[in-house]
Symmetry: C2
Subunit: 126 residues, 2 copies
């Protein structure tokens, strides 16, 4: 079961950042009306607002590279998973990579997939 949770976390993370870097508008498929995003301290509620926020970030192209993925079952909700990610973000024209951390709380859907209920993103300034 624990391997299953790790696998779901890894598959989700690969999918999420692939969409982010290649087809950001499609990220909306991973959120629902109840979803919450806190991006660098700014709170956004619901799939429509989250999608608008992600698509209006002040960079068009970016490339995430993932350093660590830690997943745990969120036993309080049947089948939920918390996923904690660290990695680097490369922006166009920027020589230096930006380190970031992000957490997701994934909830199973009736269709056998998962959606993002909680999403918190922070750059790691150092």
């Amino acid at each position: 079961m624990e391997d299953q949770v790790d696998l779901v976390g890894k598959v989700f993370v690969d999918h999420y950042y692939h969409l982010f870097d290649n087809d950001r508008a499609s990220l909306c498929s991973l959120y629902q009306p109840t979803s919450m995003l806190t991006f660098e301290g700014h709170k956004v509620l619901g799939v429509d607002n989250i999608s608008a926020k992600l698509n209006q970030l002040p960079f068009d192209q970016c490339r995430h590279s993932i350093t660590t993925i830690d997943s745990q079952p969120s036993s309080s909700s049947a089948g939920g998973i918390v996923v904690f990610v660290s990695g680097n973000l490369q922006l166009p024209g920027e020589e230096h990579l930006l380190r970031f951390s992000q957490m997701f709380h994934l909830i199973p859907t009736a269709q056998g997939s998962f959606f993002v209920q909680n999403d918190i993103f922070r750059l790691n300034y150092g």
Copy 2:
């Protein structure tokens, strides 16, 4: 309600790191038998194992300073809260601060408090 969640997150974080830095053995009061900790990729299950892990870390004294706290209601579980923390860790004899990120999933107790169901800690090497 959102302010309440932020307040709970802040109070919890202050309490957690105060205990960690001053009375680490008492951190066990914040976990339960179902709790999960992933510390630098090492998975530990249950209050007893988590307490042992935290008390056997290879440093006796430390000092956490918190940079950011982001909290959201975890609507999948009534009253649950996810808390995302970034900050610095000062170890004895170490000149440089270690940057870290940590997430907690807090679940309400019957006594009107919260316990840590999920805890994931990562140093941010960079």
